[in-house]
């Protein structure tokens, strides 16, 4: 105590003050806020993993719908082998992870003020913003078709009421009537999705309306898992014969959609006109509206991002994941969104803590059901090299073209198993 001079007193006081300041600096982390726009396969996983990595980060999801219908497996609903209730989820379980959910639509991102305006009048401020809005439709792209007609000519490319409408239209068809599915130019959500849908509708026809037919009018000359789909169609639906339940018309045979007469139910292509009892137009796509309206997209209509972190290349502290972003060679799938969300969660957490982000590791797995006992898949492992998402060590491929019936059947079981696990991870 004898040595306790004024100088030491000051030093001690200063240390204590620094300690207190440090405490508050640490505590201020409690107030670090992440806002996530979109409660789908990307957004929900990002929220959960940020909370898992740092319980002192405040996470809020902005989602316009009370219920979420997974697009994945919605083709089984359309084809009548799955109930719509089985793809319906809500956000109630997220509370137990300390995730806030605001049911409203994000209308405006004020990047300079780091805040998001919502339709309900609320303003949410953020330290980091994750945008996971999925897709929007480019309604100007098709002459004669827009969003006012989706009850009559459904797109069913966002699951929910649209899924049910298409299913009911199929059920109301008479045996011998046809359905047209139009496929937009790539890229679009779920590259094999249109062909899985065509397959499962063909399966429904085989069982219920054997004289009916699915006509695919494609804007693309080739498609995902094409040789596998073709094999399945040949085995199951007489594809390539006069009795085929399916017909695929690529652009060089006049498959490219040019205009629609919704009143008369006529589809015009570059070379022909087609009519059918049911028409399913899958419209051309781009990133979700919020991304387009707020300067997160480039000329392609999709969002360029840093391939390591998923931070927007166009705006700081805003990250874009899932279907909306451009993620190198990764396809636009639920599994991709799930995997990107985990990488992004780590990037956001690292950025908030001011530490270096670890090396990203990504996976995609995507199944298509061609028939109840015929499943096919693609899978890929990805890592980032020289700022690009690339296939890791050649780990990319699809089901073998030569495979046993048991193999195909087992892939259906794996598809359902993946579905149960990925939705459990999101909503349990």
């Amino acid at each position: 105590m004898a040595n306790f001079t004024r100088r030491t007193f000051l030093a001690v006081t200063a240390t204590t003050a620094a300690g207190v300041a440090g405490f508050y600096a640490f505590n201020s982390r409690i107030k670090q806020k992440v806002v996530i726009i979109g409660g789908g396969a990307g957004g929900v996983i990002a929220a959960k993993y940020i909370r898992k990595a740092g319980s002192n980060i405040d996470v809020t999801i902005v989602e316009q719908n009370q219920h979420y219908y997974t697009c994945f497996m919605s083709n089984e609903v359309i084809g009548g082998t799955r109930a719509i209730e089985s793809i319906k989820y809500d956000y109630a379980s997220l509370a137990k992870y300390g995730i806030n959910v605001v049911y409203s639509q994000a209308t405006n991102i004020e990047a300079d003020l780091k805040q998001v305006k919502l339709q309900n009048g609320e303003t949410l401020s953020y330290d980091r913003l994750i945008v996971s809005p999925g897709i929007s439709f480019n309604w100007d792209a098709i002459d004669g078709y827009d969003e006012t007609m989706v009850d009559k000519i459904p797109h069913a490319w966002k699951a929910g009421s649209q899924t049910t409408i298409l299913k009911k239209q199929l059920q109301a068809m008479k045996n011998g009537e046809n359905i047209i599915i139009t496929v937009p130019p790539k890229p679009f959500r779920c590259p094999p999705g249109p062909y899985e849908r065509a397959s499962l509708i063909a399966q429904y026809f085989k069982r219920n309306k054997p004289n009916s037919k699915v006509i695919i009018l494609d804007s693309n000359q080739s498609f995902a898992k094409q040789n596998l789909f073709t094999q399945g169609w040949e085995q199951l639906y007489n594809y390539g014969t006069d009795n085929s339940l399916l017909e695929w018309i690529p652009p060089d045979r006049g498959g490219k959609l040019t205009a629609v007469d919704a009143k008369e139910m006529i589809i015009y292509t570059s070379e022909d006109k087609h009519t059918a009892a049911v028409i399913n137009i899958i419209p051309p796509q781009q990133a979700g509206k919020i991304a387009i309206d707020n300067g997160l997209t480039d000329a392609s209509g999709w969002c360029p991002v840093d391939q390591r972190t998923f931070e927007s290349s166009l705006q700081a502290d805003i990250y874009v994941i899932g279907d909306a972003c451009i993620a190198g060679v990764m396809p636009k799938s639920a599994y991709s969104a799930n995997s990107q969300a985990k990488v992004c969660a780590q990037a956001v957490t690292a950025s908030l803590r001011g530490v270096e982000m670890v090396n990203p590791s990504l996976v995609n797995t995507c199944y298509s059901i061609v028939g109840d006992e015929f499943g096919i898949s693609v899978a890929g492992v990805y890592r980032v090299e020289n700022g690009k998402i690339l296939v890791s060590q050649g780990a990319s491929g699809s089901s073998p073209i030569k495979a046993s019936a048991d193999y195909r059947k087992s892939e259906v079981a794996y598809a359902h198993s993946l579905y149960d696990n990925i939705t459990h991870e999101m909503f349990d």
């Binding site: 990504l362 996976v363 797995t365 089901s399 193999y407 079981a413 794996y414 696990n421 990925i422």
Partner: protein, 199 residues
């Protein structure tokens, strides 16, 4: 210098007693988190075709990945996915999952079959596939709570000789079992393992 030695000491002690690897390490999570959309949260599957990999023996995990990567063991997407990771990454994943507690999810099962299955398990299987505590054999999988369709698929592969990576021990044990019982009574085992899942 001392400090450095101390670090090694801790590391060696850790290895000796198989202490948990740093589960919060972001690089570890970056790797293992890619598995769980198919295999369930931290490796406990609710999907019926995908195996639980939580609490899987480290050596078995490594062997399974290598055998599927080489194509020796039949698989679907895993023959592709396993290629994407280096040996050291596979080792990290194996260590992580071996240290996860398996959550055994509920499955429907037939009580009578499960009771018969328990007796059969105790007579034929428990030597390697211990239900209480960890299995002693390095390459024996945990069976409690594994999903029935997964186990059925795996056993079919063994019976059809479509998986040459089966251990001679398992091959002989399976033959012995079927010789003394029947192929159908294998189903009783599955009901027993299912009965060990949650409510």
């Amino acid at each position: 210098m001392l400090h450095q030695k101390f670090k090694y000491f801790i590391l060696i002690i850790g290895l000796l007693f198989n202490l948990p690897i740093n589960a919060a390490d972001p690089q570890i999570h970056m790797l293992v988190d890619t598995c769980i959309a198919c295999h369930g949260t931290d490796g406990s599957s609710v999907g019926s075709a995908t195996p639980n990999i939580a609490n899987m023996r480290e050596e078995l995990f490594v062997k399974a990945m290598r055998d599927m990567r080489s194509g020796e063991r039949p698989s679907t997407v895993m023959r592709i996915v396993a290629k994407g990771y280096t040996d050291s990454e596979i080792r990290i994943m194996a260590q992580f999952f071996s240290q996860q507690q398996a959550i055994l999810h509920h499955q429907d099962f037939d009580v009578e079959r499960a009771i018969k299955g328990r007796e059969l398990h105790n007579s034929y299987c428990n030597g390697c596939h211990k239900i209480e505590g960890k299995t002693t054999e390095l390459l024996s999988n945990n069976l409690a709570g594994q999903q029935m369709p997964y186990l059925r698929h795996r056993l079919t592969e063994f019976i059809n000789n479509s998986d040459p990576t089966i251990s001679p021990l398992m091959k002989n044990a399976l033959k012995h079992f079927i010789d003394n019982n029947s192929q159908d009574s294998l189903e009783n085992l599955l009901h027993y393992y299912a009965s060990l899942g949650g409510k």
